[in-house]
Symmetry: C4
Subunit: 231 residues, 4 copies
């Protein structure tokens, strides 16, 4: 069995989604990439989380060919592959249908940055893709979903906005590793839920100022970050 | 004790509703049918789930006569019977008063297909019945509830829309087996909850396109389905 | 220690409120009455549920005098007493600040009967009291809260509407015994939560018809009730 | 290791926030002060709660200098220090990004006192700060957050309003000890959640009367308090 460590990390990322209540049954999937090998480990399609083992994960190359594994990979594999090819800095992808984030995706609206919880992770709104055309849906749908995400990020740094809402579908989230991608999915769900309640309390709520937004994002992610322990 | 396997499956379906937080106390009920025998196993009325055993389930025929069992069957039995008689392809029925789905039923509105989570299971909106007439409520109320469902499905395939909202009441859900029916109830609750939040984020939210809807439903349920493992 | 069985039932009713997530810290209280003895067992004030024992409950008479117990009774005792004196058919009272029911109480509006979940327990809306006058708040506040409830029930049967929303405060619930009162509090919370979502899905949602309302209430509570097992 | 008891109390306050579901990952922090020593124990920054031990807490003086501890203190330390210096009666501070309270903070609106649950803890609305200026955000941001809180309390008694919503950010809560501060954070979350639902049920909902507000606050906190057991 190759890539044992990556398999374990990806399994753990999948299980984190379950533990945090983000997935029902077999909804959702997480993957990770070994950039040196150019190989990806991804959840198999439609398999129960409770009994999943590292050897059940499917290893594919960046072209989507199965390198090791007897199960079918997640039906969203093609979306993951597009993200890994376009976003060189990412090492893990997590996709869920978590309730609040999915509802925002269904609403077709980006999530405005209403507060510092959001600003701690995203240097801007949580973006939403454009709807796919009928032709893009008909053939290579999952790859075209990835392409719609990539187009949305033409002017965005994927590590400054580590998630996207696919319109009418659900969020895709990522990070430098599978272990970073899964918590982004958790936090996106929380941000989405807070944003609804913000609008309920004040339908005219406004995003926070760019100054406050920058401050929070950069105290965690900038060159002079001072959150957490020194590494 | 006859139909031991069916009893166990139906008990398990009832317990799945409890585990997923869909029922309070003795609300809700699930049943299953053995089509060869023409016999149905259904939850007894008003009995606690915690102590329920396979032998507590009640076996009835399609005419509603008790074939085996010392307890009264669920008071919704007559609704289940109508569904089994009208929908030849179904093998299990689950009825809950789960919060969000019940609220949609109370609102009297079908749930529009706002996203792919919905489209993965329903090839259209989640339909709502018409209100019963005073006469239909007065006598044979539970059977008439079933008839209202059947009328609503005059032009619908029950396996393409495996649940209905009974107006002013709650959802009835089904599947090819009891093991399929219970998860439909779980997913209907999730879809209903997401639909509220979708409207909160965007009161003018629109259903997804027919193209996207077809794509998601058919990748799971069509002749060329490619979700999950080959069977 | 007198009234051991009543103490145990009342403790259990208090714990049911905790298990169902209806109380935070020491919010909420339940009591029960022995009609033959004219004595009431009630939760002590501000004591943690986790360590509460039957002997911690306070026994008082209908005049509010402590008959047995070294702790102060719940500060809402006077409200409970008024209810026991005015509503001869009740044997237990449960008071919580559960989230959704309290929010309806805060809104000052009765909960319309939007569906059968509600109709199964209440033969009408869940009523709300009028606000107390400054004089009623100043002196004997808790007793006056009880009087406001009793006035609201001038034309209502307390066993046909086993709960009330005290305006700006929270629900008081009751039943024929402590074991019946606590589940009413649980169900009122669920009905309240569903009612919000009903209004979210359809701000113009209407109560169900009197026919359907009667049918559901009476199939559980009327002379010809056919829900549950024969007793 | 100095201040063992304070460390344990502060650790326990941090864990209470976790147990009550108020924090995701390492969001949130609690601290406590030993007024005699003039020393504060605070959670370290970005460390997992599950493995945190008393010795991981950081001891600082009121000037913010580390007196004992090898980890960085919470990045919000400067806010805590300002509160301890300005509010002489407080002994503990808890800061969370709990969902509903944070959403109110994001909405920029104070939480009106819609009911007695709120009045039991706050003798007025839950106040919200003014937004910081760009200059206040740029330098000494965390201290300036504290200053904005202090300015908001120019005419308020911090023990009569034991929490504040920092606009666009989240709540800061306090009490006479760390053991009092953490439950305030729990209760603020509940009050915030109820307030949303109150507005959903009745968008024109009004605060309770001053008479009722005074009654509830003073029966718990006034000179003649009669809630709980005598101490």
């Amino acid at each position: 069995m190759i890539l044992k460590k990556l398999r374990e990390e990806v399994l753990e990322a999948n299980l984190e989604l379950v533990r945090r209540g983000l997935v029902l049954y077999t909804f959702g999937n997480a993957s990770g990439i070994d950039r040196d090998e150019g190989l990806i480990a991804i959840k198999p399609s439609g398999v129960a989380y409770e009994t999943m083992k590292p050897e059940d994960l499917v290893i594919v190359n960046l072209g989507g060919e199965i390198v090791e594994g007897s199960l079918r990979p997640s039906s969203d594999l093609a979306t993951h592959l597009i993200l890994y090819r376009a976003f060189g800095g990412i090492g893990g992808v997590a996709h869920t249908h978590s309730r609040a984030a999915t509802a925002w995706a269904q609403s077709g609206r980006e999530i405005p940055c209403f507060g510092t919880t959001h600003a701690d992770y995203f240097h801007g709104p949580i973006p939403v893709t454009k709807a796919l055309t009928p032709a893009e849906i008909r053939a290579d749908y999952e790859a075209n979903t990835g392409q719609a995400i990539v187009r949305r990020f033409a002017k965005l740094d994927p590590l400054h906005a580590p998630a996207v809402l696919v319109a009418g579908h659900a969020p895709f989230c990522w990070g430098k590793s599978p272990a970073e991608a899964a918590p982004v999915a958790v936090i996106v769900e929380e941000i989405a839920a807070m944003a609804f309640q913000t609008l309920t309390a004040n339908p005219k709520a406004r995003p926070i100022s760019k100054h406050l937004h920058d401050k929070h994002f950069l105290r965690k992610h900038g060159d002079d970050a001072y959150y957490g322990q020194k590494r």
